[in-house]
Symmetry: C2
Subunit: 247 residues, 2 copies
């Protein structure tokens, strides 16, 4: 039987009562048809997962009492996804899939060839929360406000490496890079940068190439769409350097 | 500038004239607003890619003359994706992404816990063709008619290994398996099997476990949706054993 997991942005302590949001209350009461005394599981990104019991129901609201912590907090690997926004269905999709694939932050960036001019980060965050609830994460990735790529690069944290997909074919095969890094025994905070469907501009590529801890990677002979490339790189990274290999 | 690539199911020879389908003619004439003398590129899955010139236009039809082969035929790795069908948008998505990720065959299978009861293989094939045109493939994956999983297993080709995603957690970490196979230097025809959102049944898992060249693989601590799992496994496989590592 599937358990109901909900994210709430609220500190936890035993015996405490927490109000669910209206949307969560609707889901619990009207979609799942739960009632007083039924169990739901809450997480807030820092206090693990708690078994809770529904203690109060009104027409539109619902609150639960925190009974017991059932899972201690675990964090996801330190992995950012920086991506040029794409059209609506695909960007929702990227937010959900990247959450399932364990990113710690989602950063939409505008590049020279980005078609989309506005990003609804609130909707991205909703998608990330829903995916986190379903995939069993104990955290929700941070969703940053959209920003220019040049601004991100200007303020780049020195200790973080960046992998970017270079469609011009001059990158290193992704598994070659990952296997080498794994063999070196170094684990570095990482960001993955996916450009827009039109690729990076000449000047953007020049900016990326001049950094020492930035690496152009190659994803094979077929041209992947931006959303496919994002999922592919995240999967490969998790499988070699992330938390898929097991403890 | 992006070139227009179209798949036609027709043998090629130099100087030959080929009629585009009505949908292709509509796309070329009304969407791209091309006319007589404009160039399109055709592939048919066996004769490489040809530069063609539009030689005839009527209200609804369009034909092209094959001028010159510009790319010789390459085939994709021998990699099947066997998947339990999921709801409409997601199954279209799997067909397109799997094509970008270079599968050679798409095989929808019904399992005990599969909710969906009918698969429109014609639509799957259209999605695969469109993705093949866009991603630069010279082939379109075969799309099989849907079939019961038990029937696929009963008639399994002895030389083909199968990787299946085991959500019960008893599988080998995917990169451990792939790295070992790469180190062994053996390349085997492979199939990847993705179950439905409800997982495999006990008896299906028993059937899968008893085969010697079937391997349960693990995709980390988060529960991936079926479509995410499909893309993740295909990406990891291509990055280690497929055609991503380069020649």
């Amino acid at each position: 039987m599937r358990v109901t997991r909900l994210f709430v942005d609220h500190p936890f302590s035993s015996g405490q009562s927490v109000s669910l949001s209206e949307a969560q209350a609707h889901y619990v009461m009207n979609v799942l048809r739960m009632g007083l005394g039924d169990l739901v599981y809450l997480f807030n990104g820092c206090d693990g997962e708690w078994r809770c019991v529904i203690d109060r129901i009104t027409r539109r609201r619902c609150s639960v009492t925190l009974e017991e912590q059932v899972t201690i907090q675990k964090s996801e690997p330190d992995l950012w996804l920086i991506f040029a926004p794409i059209k609506r269905a695909r960007i929702d999709f990227v937010a959900a899939k990247a959450t399932e694939l364990g990113v710690s932050a989602l950063i939409p960036v505008f590049t020279e060839f980005t078609d989309v001019t506005r990003v609804n980060t609130q909707r991205l965050r909703s998608n990330a929360i829903e995916a986190a609830e379903q995939c069993g994460r104990l955290s929700v990735p941070e969703v940053d406000e959209s920003i220019k790529l040049t601004a991100v690069l200007a303020d780049w944290p020195l200790d973080r490496q960046l992998l970017y997909c270079d469609e011009t074919g001059s990158g290193i095969a992704i598994n070659e890079f990952l296997a080498k890094q794994k063999a070196s025994g170094q684990s570095k905070p990482t960001a993955i940068l996916i450009g827009p469907e039109g690729g990076f501009s000449r000047s953007e590529l020049d900016l990326l190439k001049e950094r020492t801890n930035f690496t152009a990677i190659d994803l094979g002979p077929r041209i992947l769409r931006a959303d496919t490339a994002a999922i592919a790189v995240l999967s490969c990274w998790q499988s070699v350097l992330g938390d898929w290999p097991g403890e």
